[in-house]
Each structure stands twice: as C-alpha cells, then as structure tokens.
Amino acid sequence: MAVNLKRSSGEDSDGKTSRRRMLGWLTGAGLAGSAGLSAVSNFVFIKPRATYGQPQRFSVGKPEDFPPGTRAVLASRGICIIREGTKLAAISTTCTHLGCTVGAADTGFACPCHGSRFDQDGNVTGGPAPRPLPWFQVTLAPNGEIEVDKDIEIVPGSYLSL
C-alpha cells in the first residue's frame, strides 16, 4: 500500500475539512471507542455478580440462651450479643478502622491490629478508629428465635424489647 508521506494541511483550498482527515478522525475514534469498551467489559467481568460467603441475615438462638447481663461474642458471626434486663442488641466486632476482629476487654472492646479501643456500647475511646462499632437490627422471628440482619445498621443504643 502506498503511503503519501507529504503532510496535508487537512483542509481543501476552500477551507473545508478534507475526506482524508475526516476518515482519520473516524478511524481514531473507532479504535479508541473499541479500546474503551473492551476495558469496561474486562472491568465488568472481574467484578463478581455473586459472592460466596456467610448470609448477612441469620438466627442466633432463643432469648433464653442469653440471660440478662450477657455479653456474648459470637466470633463466627462477627457480632456481640448484649442483653440487659429485657433489652437485647447486637454490636459488630469488626473494627471500623481496618477490619480486624476486636476482642472483648475489661472496658469494652480492643483491637489487636492498630490499638483502637471501644467502650461497652462500641463508642470509640481511643486509637485510630473513625466510627463507633455499628449496631445491627435485631428482630424476634415468628418461631421465637432472635434474628440479626448485618445489612441493616441501627442507631446505637436502640434495643429490641423482649
């Protein structure tokens, strides 16, 4: 294929854009568009549609399993069940800083990774954690079991009355 090495100004003598330049633009736009589309489809491909993991909504047992005064860390669920009298709540044990699992400490919760500290209600008392530990929605299912939904965060301090 012969290539004309002479640079054309891209304009005809009457000032209109030449066919050659027009075709050049179209080719460039087509290639760039295709590259963009394939980048987007790669992104769509590696973003999983379904994830494999624990359900976010689960049952933790009957109210009787948690007698008044209980602070039970359910490690596999990443929550701590608190019962005071007839009130019950579920606090997250996933540190709001960088996702480590906080442990129960005398004063509340403490994180082993970067030293965040929380009080009994999950409020930050020290360390780099930016937010208090979230509280999750707790409901009483028709079969009498306590159901926790980790997808729904509620205002800290709001309990389920039994």
Binding site: P48, S76, L98, C100, T101, P112, C113, H114, G115, P128
Partner: protein, 427 residues
C-alpha cells in the same frame, strides 16, 4: 593428477565435523581475541546485544552504583525461577494452601530451600530496589534526559511492593490473612473508588477463597508480566538515554578546531570531491579525544557475572541459615495480637495506627506523587553523577528526611509496639 578439487564432503567427514558445525551455527564468533571480535560478540549474541559494545569506565565503578540495579534484576530472576518451581506444588485453595506449605517443608525435596530462597529474595528485592532508588536520587541521575526512566523506576518500585503484598496471602497463615484484611481495608479508604477497589481485590466482602484466587492470579501472572515489561522499558531507556549518568567532568573537554575550508574558487564545478578534498589540516580527530570507555567484553560482562554470583550466593547462604516463617493456619475469628505486617510495611502500619486515610492513602500517595514529579520539578542540571553533590543540598535533604522518617516508623512498628498495638519498650 587433475587440478586440486575440493575434497568431496563425505557423510563421514560431515559426521566428524558435526559438533564443530553445530557450535559454529549457534555462536558465529570465536572467543574474542581482538577488538573487532569483542564488538561482534556483543552484537551477535542475543543475551549480550542488550549491552553497548563499549561502556564508560564510570559505569563500572562499584562505588558509584554498588550494582544495586543489577542485584534487583538478579533477585527478580531468582524469584521467577523459584516461584515457577513452587507453583508445581501449590494450590490456591483455602482448604489446601496451608497444607501445601507443610508439604513443602516436610515431603518435597528441596521444598524448604526453595521457599526460603523465594521469601528472602522477595525481602531482598524490596530492600535493594529501594536502595537503588536512593542511589539514583543521591547522584542526581533522574535529571534530563533520564526523567522518564526515573518514572518507570518508581513504577517498578510500586510493582515490587504490590508483588510482595499479593505474595504473602498465598501461604494462608495468620500473617497472610490479617495483613490482607488490613491491606484491602486501607485500599477501601481511597476516595471515590476505594470501596470498588477493595471489592474487586477481594472478589467479595471479606478475605476468603475468591481473594486467595485473585491474589494468586495477580501474583503469578498479571504482575510478573507487567513487571517484566516495565523492566524491559527500563533497560532499553538506559541505552537510549546515553548509558548510566556521569559527571560532566568525567570526560576531559577537548577543543576541536575546525579545519580551514578550501576556497570555493579553487574548486572545479564539474569535478566530484571527496570530503578530504574540501578541507585542509589535521582531519582525523578520532583517537585524539581521551577515550574513557572500555569494551563490554569482558569488562562489563565479568562485572555482571560477579554480581550475579554474589547475589545468588548471599540468597543461598541466607536460605540455608534461616527458615522462612510460617505462622498458625488462618483463624478468621481471632487476629494474632499484635497483628504485624512484614518489616517493610510496618512503617505504613504505624502511620495507619494514627489515621487510616492519612497513614494509608494520604501520606503515601503524596510521597509517590512527589517521587514521580521529582525530575519535572527539579530542572537544574547541576550535581549529576556525584554522590551527595553540594549543588543538590536541598533536594537531598528533603529526600533524606522522608527516608529517615519512614525508617523511624518502621523501627517503632517493629520494636516498640506490643499487644493491642500499645507502646512498649523492647528492653
């Protein structure tokens, strides 16, 4: 007797000459014994043709480069070889990965040695690449025309860190799990796209099988490919940018007087003249300029071989003396206390313990942007080719401040942090 005819090549003589002919078909040159053959050897050998035929004496001075770039490359080669061997026994599965680590220790021939070599080379590469970056900065070697190669170098440094980051999820032990939990959470703090990056890296909402598979693919395929490409560009640019940097006065300046031209009136219009017919006086300046270059064969190649042998020996000795640590298998419920990253990320972890965004994204991000922009902000051409040149006092001081600050953070994170990341004294 008839006039001499070439002896007929019989099958037997062909057979007898077979080794010689095969050898000659592969290596066109004899072992060089003169300068022409030395050049020719560098040209015609695939592995040698990356090198220049002649190299400046300054580039061979050990005290100038300390061979840090070469050592980084050789560590990368060791990592590729040992990494491929380890792949024969590794399975990226949450139920099998840790057992495979134990198998490497217990039942695979040379398994422990290979894993040790891979681990110590990885640590070594992070350290040496960083030292190489410091060398280039302190000698002002990022300046024009080497600006872009400095940028490629910074990218190589980041890729090295990312390689090591993706690598240490693979043993699926406690360090692996919690380091990646924390690392991906740091990515989640990046503005706007942070949460998406975190989700893409983990392939889900927590570190599990999907994350292990993704990190494996990144570690053994994607990143090595990108790294290899970047290394190729890095090496190619060294040649195109005129070899390693050196001081302006590395070569004595020789004034070249132009030979006086012959007057045009003397020339006959219809005659063709050679170059020497047009000027008078001593023409050949070649050989009059002091030549500070030496042939790559054998000077450069021996230096490279020496560096390789020393690097490999050091890694072998380290791997025979010290075993790569392997912690308890993953327990997603209980992080170890304190949960510490490897030493080169402890500075980052220490900063993160003050603020997740500023420690993990803000400060490192600004540092990387400053590094990338260095050759475009510092346009002065002074002080190239000398360690700690006085002309570069300001730039060097700023850089040293960053380096020392990071080292201090690493030391605090390593020795002064105990359970719950509380401040402890190591004595």
């Amino acid at each position: 007797m008839s006039p001499a005819t070439p002896p007929k090549a019989s099958f037997l003589t062909a057979l007898a000459d077979l080794p010689k002919n095969v050898w000659k078909s592969i290596f066109r040159n004899p072992l060089p014994s003169n300068d022409l053959e030395r050049s020719s050897t560098s040209f015609t050998n695939f592995f040698l043709h990356i090198h220049p035929v002649k190299v400046h004496k300054n580039s061979l001075r050990p005290a100038y480069t300390f061979g840090l770039g070469l050592i980084s490359f050789f560590l990368f080669v060791i990592l590729i070889v040992t990494g491929i061997l380890l792949m024969f026994y590794y399975v990226p599965s949450t139920t099998q990965a840790y057992d495979r680590m134990l198998d490497l220790r217990g039942s695979v021939a040379f398994g422990t040695l290979l894993r040790n070599m891979h681990r110590w080379s990885a640590h070594g590469m992070v350290a040496v690449v960083f030292m190489h970056l410091c060398r280039v900065f302190f000698t002002g070697s990022y300046k024009k025309p080497r600006e872009f190669n400095w940028v490629v170098g910074v990218i190589l440094f980041l890729l090295t860190l990312f390689m090591s980051f993706t690598g240490y999820l693979l043993p699926w032990d406690q360090l692996a799990f919690w380091a990646i939990t924390v690392g991906t959470a740091i990515a989640g703090y990046a503005p706007v796209i942070g949460k998406d990056i975190q989700f893409l890296l983990m392939g889900g909402t927590s570190v599990g099988q999907e994350a292990l598979l993704r990190f494996y693919v990144l570690h053994v395929a994607v990143l090595p490919a990108v790294l290899t490409l970047a290394i190729a560009i890095h090496f190619w640019r060294i040649r195109k940018d005129g070899g390693l940097s050196r001081a302006e006065d590395a070569d004595p300046v020789v004034s070249l007087e132009a030979a006086p031209a012959v007057k045009a009136s003397v020339l006959e219009p219809k005659k063709t003249y050679g170059f020497q017919g047009l000027v008078r006086g001593p023409l050949a300046k070649v050989g009059q300029i002091p030549d500070n270059t030496v042939f790559s064969w054998p000077n450069l190649f021996l230096a490279e071989l020496f560096t390789f042998v020393v690097t490999l020996s050091a890694i072998l000795v380290l791997s025979l003396l010290f075993n790569a640590p392997l912690e308890e298998p993953v327990n997603a419920l209980h992080p170890p206390n304190p949960a510490k990253a490897p030493w080169y990320f402890l500075g980052l972890q220490e900063m993160v313990s003050y603020s997740a965004f500023w420690g993990g994204i803000g400060v490192p991000g600004i540092f990387v942007l400053l590094l990338l922009g260095t050759p475009y902000m510092d346009r002065s051409t002074k002080g190239v080719g000398k360690w700690f040149s006085r002309d570069r006092l300001l730039a060097n001081t700023i850089f040293i401040t960053f380096v020392v600050a990071n080292i201090i953070f690493v030391i605090i994170g390593t020795f002064f942090r105990g359970a719950n990341w509380a401040f402890v004294t190591p004595w």
